[in-house]
């Protein structure tokens, strides 16, 4: 195992209980700098809960989270954002009647210089220019920066949400099923966007997906959760779909990391 300071994200022994349901039962996770890391698992395995822990939306009962070697205890989404973690939720959280630049800067609008800025005036020119530069850097297919986001295609909306995360994230970008609702061509461009976040920004990406072919095409490594525990972490080049399905369903009791997988009660 690598030294923890070399890891972008290091999660150890995180537990989270909802009443009688134990969503996370001492989960571990290691994400290396600049890698696309897929998070896999059957429904109810605890993927979304783990993402929420890292996003500060859920406070764990036990366990530790280190970001770039620094221990963190998030008590709210603002804490996670301050630590450089940005999340693209399934609902995208876009304002459909606003143009892309206003969505990219929502809640973090640049102020005009001087007195006007202190009075709350927004520098729309700077917003539009920075948004254009950023979207171009990610090679996104958004042309009309004045159009309402609501009038765009599903893939373009996804691109705006992903671009916003990439714009503000400095430690980790997380995406919960970004391609679930998209067609073939749009899925392709979102996967390309994820690669660009890694290649242009050097940021690690944690990607929840049910689509194994997509995962094999874009991810560097993956972690499989089952019943709130990690059962497998591996390089994509070292595993097959069958391995992953076995790990997810529990058919495989011995994981390639050598750990004993949890038996369902």
């Amino acid at each position: 195992m690598k030294d923890s300071a070399d890891l972008a994200v290091r999660v150890r022994g995180v537990r989270k209980r909802y009443g009688h349901v134990e969503a996370l039962r001492g989960v571990d996770l290691d994400i290396a700098p600049g890698e696309i890391h897929a998070l896999l698992g059957d429904n109810g395995a605890g993927k979304s809960t783990l993402v929420k822990v890292l996003a500060g939306a859920v406070t764990p009962d036990e366990g530790t989270v280190e970001i770039n070697g620094v221990p963190h205890r998030f008590t709210g989404p603002r804490d996670a954002q301050a630590a450089g973690i940005e999340t693209v939720y399934q609902d995208l959280a876009l304002a459909p009647t606003l143009p892309p630049d206003a969505n990219l800067f929502l809640g973090r609008e640049p102020a005009r210089p001087g007195l006007l800025g202190r009075l709350g005036f927004v520098d729309r020119k700077a917003m539009r220019a920075e948004a254009a530069t950023h979207l171009r850097q990610l090679n996104s297919k958004i042309q009309d920066l004045g159009a309402e986001v609501g009038s765009m295609s599903g893939g373009q909306k996804q691109a705006v949400a992903v671009a916003r995360a990439a714009m503000w994230g400095s430690a980790l970008i997380m995406m919960d099923e970004p391609t679930a609702a998209l067609g073939v061509a749009q899925t392709e461009s979102v996967l390309e966007l994820i690669r660009r976040i890694r290649d242009e920004k050097g940021l690690p990406v944690l990607l929840i997906s049910h689509n194994l072919p997509d995962v094999f095409r874009v991810a560097d490594r993956c972690t499989v959760l089952r019943l709130g525990r990690r059962v497998l972490t591996a390089r994509m080049s070292d595993v097959t779909s069958t391995d992953l399905i076995r790990a997810m369903t529990g058919a495989d009791t011995l994981s390639p990391t050598g750990e004993r997988a949890a038996e369902p009660r």
């Binding site: 989404p77 603002r78 609902d91 959280a93 876009l94 304002a95 459909p96 009647t97 606003l98 206003a102 929502l106 809640g107 973090r108 609008e109 102020a111 009075l119 709350g120 005036f121 927004v122 729309r124 009309d144 004045g146 159009a147 309402e148 609501g150 009038s151 765009m152 295609s153 599903g154």
Partner: protein, 333 residues
Amino acid sequence: MPRPQRLSDATILLLLIAIVAVFSIVTPAGTFLSLSNAESILLTASQLLILSCGITFLLIAGGLDLSIGSITIFSAVVVAKVMGALAGTAAQAADFHYPNLGVAITVAIVCGLLVGAGWGAVNGLLAVKLRIPPFIATLATGGIVLGLASVWTNGQNVQNVPLPFQSSFGLGKLFEVIPWSIVIAAVVTAVFWVVLSKTRFGLHTYAMGANLEAARRAGVNVRRHMVLLYVGTGALCGIVAVLDVARFSTASITSHSGDALSAIAAVVIGGTSLFGGRGRISGTVVGALIPAVLQSGFVIMDVQPFWQNVAVGVVLLVAVYVDQVKIRAQERT
């Protein structure tokens, strides 16, 4: 896809220009198209415009206020009563002698604005803290506030307003040219236009109406923001109350009961979406002018001015239909 918002702004402006053009042609020269008639149209529209500025913000943010007429009436009662009580004794007033006029006017205006803002805060807390849908919350407060004003005054107009308030302010003009009511409506409109289109507060107002959860997650204090919008709208009612008392030298219990619906109509005709997230003050200005222009034209043409209501209703239906078509077009993508 081009910005549909622009299109609707232009359409409604063209409609206003067309109405003005038709009236200018069919009325005798120098009647409809004259400076004095323009002044009278603006004077008629000024109160509606002030209230509509508040409604524009509320509708864009996903709120609604049906109580603005009642709050205006209540605030007017406060303004008239406070001014009358502080200006001088009854005996002095009978001689048109008001020893404390300056203090009375100042305190009355401040009280009017504060009471308006206070009722706005009540609306905001009901809608935000108790999560009562604003339609119901403000319908209820509208009834309560009007009821209280009526009980307080026994349903009578408040009469003891010091006369100089009307003669110097209510009928007075800036530079002897522009009535104060129009000046104040212009200033309010300019301020609201700047805030909505240039500031962070304005952007957040749009974002809340477009997707409240997204705005909240982006760190916008959506509850405080919404309460502020209701408070601001209530304060605008206070301003209108002051103008009204100044203009008519009385606080009338019946005068403003239709204001909420007129303002919502004006705002929606001006292109603001009933579904939130979309709208402009420039559109609201046009929307607030249309009823006054129609009324003036019909009066000059000796047509029953009630046709104004019919025409505004038709335009409102068209505006809402266009709005819905836009929303549906967006949902299809």
